[in-house]
């Protein structure tokens, strides 16, 4: 009896186990398969749109809400191109007025001012405007113009001594100066206040913006009270506006309303509800007590007394989020539409856009293209903004793993890998810092050679910078959108030393070959400069003999210039060095060469801004030359397309956009363009009046924007570079950590090399 009971129990257990196993296998094999084909209800008319859920790769069909603000470009007068922006306001009869200036190139002093009025959908110059002549007569360089609530025009500007003056412009062309004494230097200061903004109320009271407060004066010029606001170091402050009764600004992380009767705060709202930059936000009134907040996130609106912010215009879909543009002026139109005036990093090159509600546009663009990058990148943002403005039905979502200069961790890459493994992940991957080689080998990235070849075939690209990424079978899985390179400066003898590790080690000049720095920077710098000699092009690792020679060369150079693994504070002050480490180790040493501390200098050149000082140093040393380190360059903004991307064609279009002249022509301080026409445009750019100064200790140098010949020389150099260099960070870390004791004279080079090779051998065999 006992045996029978046991057998039946075993049978039951076995049966249950089999049942579970079958269920498991069936669910494992088929449970996660996505259904394809038309939906069961057969719907799919015009009212439905495919909307992508926030989770990549998951599309769901739902009723698409319609209506969104669209953006259109407003044609500005042709002659405005060289003029700089002064102000964009609503003037008499509520018409829109744009004020511009023609300036002296070097000093920026205003020569002529112009008023344009917007009538019948176009801008016309107001030839009758008397303000220009009035300011010229007074020798005032106009900085601001306001149409007061009292119906008068007011102008502010600086005289030759950089003292500020505020005038009321009378209808007959005469002027009356206001608040004369308020802008004079006070308490022994050299200069008086140049207010970033002022406003005039209906009863003649004047609100003058200072950097930390706004002071209200009555019509007679008597100071009434001050209202605190967040600090703004900008010469134009748009983080506030006045109505007749109230002043609204940003103060201590909140949007606050002050009463203009007594200067007390009557309302405050948490700014975090708005999102986006608090430093560059523009605040303006809606005419009925509500507030518009405008920044890169878009245009947000809140009613008076409300606590909620509604995003009226999504800035990420248009030029509001574009990195190369600065929003100078923003006004509400007549029909709850908006106008924005933008410039580049300077005040010239104005562009105007009109934002109007379009009921036929989907509220959320039906197609979302995702771009993943470990770190934020201006060129990618620029391309995203441009792409969206050209494709209103596409939303480009740029996802970054770290914000604001944070540190990339392995967990972040592992998180991305998890997405990629499940066949999801972003459509476009910016491969800087990611294991691109592994992604190519695993088939994560799709071949984009057709996109690159088409771009190259057009003759518009610097093929020498792109060809290095062609695989043996001519396929291309990644393409750089920017490039930089190390520029060597020095006399011929010193520059020749950079030809090999041996010549670097054997250099016998009066001064050491390179500047003093910490050993990690020195290791990284030489790893980049002599990359071809040191590392295997396929695996990226280093042979033992090469490693020993590399470590010894760095030691020889370090012994000569006094480098150390770590500097004390006193040493830092004495030698102008720090323990700060750069990924490529190139700190910039043209000034050290100029000081005579070393025989050559190296600058990491990712734009003409970085060239100014080096060019000036060469001017000071006519015997010196510029040279590249062989044919190496450092690619960046490496873009690839996820082979599982849901929108491959749009992703290809985005890559085309990234390489296009329109994106590449902007200097966003993240590398030279790979587009030939854009590079030509950079080389032709003159920045008159631009000046940069460097100084430490007794040393100082002042440099202007490099001349056309130097710019052309650099452009020619860039055209000759063919070897992309990306040092494997894991290998670099092993070398840095493993050689520390050697550089601290605690072990021999052989011991250091043995330790490094032990780790490297594990890494190589993994």
């Amino acid at each position: 009896m006992k045996v029978i009971k046991k057998n039946s129990k075993n049978r039951l257990m076995r049966g249950a186990a089999w049942g579970l196993a079958i269920c498991l296998i069936m669910s494992a094999l088929g449970g996660c398969r996505k259904k394809t084909g038309p939906s069961e209800d057969g719907t799919g008319g015009e009212s439905q749109t495919q909307v992508r859920s926030p989770i990549y790769g998951q599309n769901e069909t739902q009723i698409g809400a319609m209506g969104r603000y669209g953006e259109t470009k407003v044609q500005l007068p042709q002659n405005i191109e060289e003029q700089s922006f002064i102000q964009f306001i609503r003037g008499k009869n509520d018409r829109m007025e744009l004020y511009t200036a023609e300036r002296v190139p070097d000093t920026g002093t205003v020569l002529e001012t112009f008023r344009y009025v917007y009538e019948d959908g176009s801008w016309q110059q107001d030839q009758d405007w008397a303000g220009n002549q009035a300011m010229k007569d007074l020798e005032i360089s106009l900085t601001d113009i306001v149409f007061g609530m009292d119906g008068n025009y007011y102008a502010g500007g600086t005289d030759r001594d950089y003292s500020y003056h505020l005038f009321r412009l009378e209808g007959d062309g005469s002027v009356q100066e206001l608040l004369k004494d308020e802008f004079k230097p006070k308490n022994g200061q050299e200069y008086g206040l140049v207010p970033p903004k002022f406003e005039v109320l209906e009863d003649g009271r004047t609100a003058v913006y200072d950097y930390r407060e706004v002071v209200l004066y009555d019509a007679s010029g008597k100071r009434l009270f001050a209202m605190a606001k967040d600090f703004s170091g900008d010469t134009r402050d748009s983080r506030g506006f006045c109505t007749n009764d109230e002043f609204v600004t940003v103060y201590e992380g909140e949007i606050v309303r002050y009463s203009l009767q007594d200067g007390t705060i009557v309302e405050n709202m948490d700014y975090s509800e708005i999102q986006g930059s608090r430093e560059t936000v523009k605040l303006l009134g809606d005419g009925s007590g509500g507030i518009y907040a405008v920044n890169e996130i878009g245009v947000s609106h809140s009613n008076k007394g409300g606590t909620l912010w509604e995003i009226l215009i999504d800035g990420t879909l248009n030029h509001l989020a574009m990195r190369s543009l600065i929003l100078r002026g923003f006004l509400e139109g007549d029909n709850r539409d908006f106008y924005g005036v933008f410039t580049g990093s300077g005040t010239t090159g104005m562009e105007m856009f009109h934002y109007e509600y379009d009921p036929d546009l989907e509220t959320v663009p039906p197609l979302t293209l995702t771009v993943y990058s470990l770190k934020d990148n201006s060129t990618v943002r620029q391309a995203a903004s441009l792409f969206q403005s050209e494709h209103p039905n596409v939303r480009v979502e740029v996802r970054t793993a770290v914000e604001n200069g944070g540190t990339v961790t392995e967990e972040m890459i592992q998180g991305l890998n998890t997405e990629l493994l499940s066949g999801k992940g972003a459509d476009i991957l910016i491969l800087d810092g990611l294991p691109a080689r592994s992604y190519i080998e695993k088939g994560i990235l799709m071949d984009i050679s057709d996109v690159v070849e088409a771009a190259e075939g057009s003759g518009e690209m610097l093929n020498n910078l792109l060809d290095g990424f062609k695989e043996k079978d001519e396929a291309m899985y990644q393409v750089p959108a920017r490039a930089a390179f190390p520029l060597l400066i020095g006399e011929q003898e010193a520059l020749q030393a950079y030809f090999s590790l041996e010549t670097m080690a054997n250099y016998q000049g009066e001064e050491p070959l390179m500047r003093i720095t910490n050993y990690e920077n020195l290791l990284r710098e030489i790893a980049h400069l002599r990359h071809e000699e040191l590392f295997d092009p396929e695996s990226g690792v280093i042979e033992r003999d090469n490693l020993v020679q590399y470590l010894e060369t760095v030691k020889t150079i370090g012994d000569a210039n006094g480098s150390k693994t770590i500097f004390s504070e006193e040493e830092g002050e004495k030698y102008f060095v720090s323990n700060y480490v750069l990924p490529n180790g190139i700190l910039g040493s043209a000034t050290e060469y100029d000081r005579g501390v070393c025989s050559s200098g190296i600058e990491y050149l990712d734009g003409y801004w970085e060239l100014c000082v080096a060019a000036e140093v060469r001017n000071r040393h006519p015997e010196s030359k510029f040279m590249t380190a062989g044919k190496i360059y450092l690619p960046s903004v490496m873009a690839g397309i996820n082979s599982s991307a849901a929108h491959k064609e749009e992703a290809k279009q985005f890559i085309r956009c990234l390489l296009s002249y329109e994106v590449q022509k902007e200097d966003l301080s993240d590398g030279f363009p790979v587009n030939k026409r854009a590079l030509q445009s950079w080389a032709e750019t003159e920045r008159e009046g631009f000046s940069v100064g460097v100084g430490y200790g007794d040393y100082s140098i002042s440099a202007q924007w490099p001349g056309a010949e130097v710019r052309q020389e650099i452009m020619d150099m860039l055209k000759e570079l063919t070897v992309p260099v990306t040092v494997d960070e894991t290998v670099m870390k092993m070398i840095v950590e493993g050689s520390r004791n050697y550089y601290d004279n605690k072990e021999t080079v052989q011991q250091a090399a043995d330790g490094i090779m032990r780790k490297l051998s594990i890494y190589m065999t993994e």
Binding site: L421, I444, I762, Y763
Partner: protein, 295 residues
């Protein structure tokens, strides 16, 4: 019938969880181990061959086995000895002061040994680094005692394995000791008393009463020690980084790097192999146990 179903109902939640969160993913792992990295192509046993030929895998697997072989017996012995000392000390204290004196001073030892469990790994490793770096406390102490300059980098040299072993023991002794103490409490004091009356010494009592009485606890402590040993990667990583001295390069190091490089095909093949290897002793022990019960 009802009596047969009730145990399954009790078992269902945990069994369901294990199936859902361990069983199903493991089936996927096995499936992927026969495919390429992206799971798009069947590659037969290529991945298994590649893993077996991989010297990094062999090193990591060898180190992991070495670590288990050294640390598990050591941990069990140390924690068992600590438990015995505390238990016997506590009993003596209770006998001499009376049964009502429960707050004996041996609780201090218990707490001290359990304390490392409560310290976060990151802060613990920071202390170890301060102790063990070339300019650290240990080298300074040794320099002071010997009169010679000690500059040993304990965490990055051949000493890395003993350092990791010490870290593991320090962290886990208290936990295992608690398990042993729980087992010891389950042994009747009358048995010890009777053995004493029969003239049995300390070692005889341990051999003939304590050890047989802790058979069940032995298995539990062994399994939990092995499980905890897999967590030692955290300490190894924080102490010596992603590429430590070759002697403490463990399977989790390799898996982390493979995952970082998306070598999922190697990972899954290695995981499947490791599971099979781990299952062999478990199955043998289970079979032997069942046979013993049947006889």
């Amino acid at each position: 019938m009802r009596r047969k179903i009730v145990p399954w109902l009790f078992l269902a939640p945990s069994l369901g969880g294990v199936i859902l969160f361990t069983g199903l993913p493991f089936l996927d792992v096995v499936k992927r181990s026969f495919q390429d990295a992206m799971g798009t192509r069947f590659v037969g046993t290529d991945n298994y061959q590649a893993v077996l030929a991989n010297s990094a895998f062999r090193l990591a697997a060898g180190n992991t086995v070495h670590f288990l072989a050294v640390c598990i017996p050591l941990l069990m012995a140390v924690s068992f000895t600590a438990a015995l000392l505390i238990s016997s000390g506590s009993n003596i204290s209770r006998e001499s002061k009376g049964a009502e004196d429960t707050g004996d001073r041996y609780s201090v030892f218990r707490t001290t040994l359990v304390l490392p469990m409560t310290i976060p790994a990151a802060s613990m490793v920071l202390v170890w680094k301060i102790l063990l770096c070339p300019d650290g406390v240990l080298n300074q102490f040794l320099s002071g005692v010997s009169g010679q300059a000690w500059q040993v980098d304990w965490a990055f040299s051949r000493w890395a394995f003993p350092v990791l072993t010490a870290t593991y023991l320090w962290k886990n002794t208290g936990y295992d000791m608690i398990l042993w103490l729980a087992g010891l409490q389950g042994i009747s004091g009358e048995l010890y008393e009777a053995a004493k009356m029969d003239g049995a010494g300390v070692f005889a009592r341990i051999r003939y009463i304590t050890l047989p009485g802790l058979k069940g606890t032995f298995g539990l402590v062994g399994i939990l020690s092995v499980v905890n040993s897999f967590r030692v990667y955290r300490e190894a990583y924080l102490l010596a980084g992603p590429y430590p001295d070759a002697s403490i390069y463990l399977i989790p190091h390799l898996f982390a790097h493979w995952f970082l490089n998306l070598d999922i095909q190697k990972m899954t093949a290695a995981a499947a192999m490791m599971t099979v290897i781990a299952l062999i002793p478990a199955v043998i022990m289970g079979t032997l146990g069942m046979k013993r019960r049947e006889t």
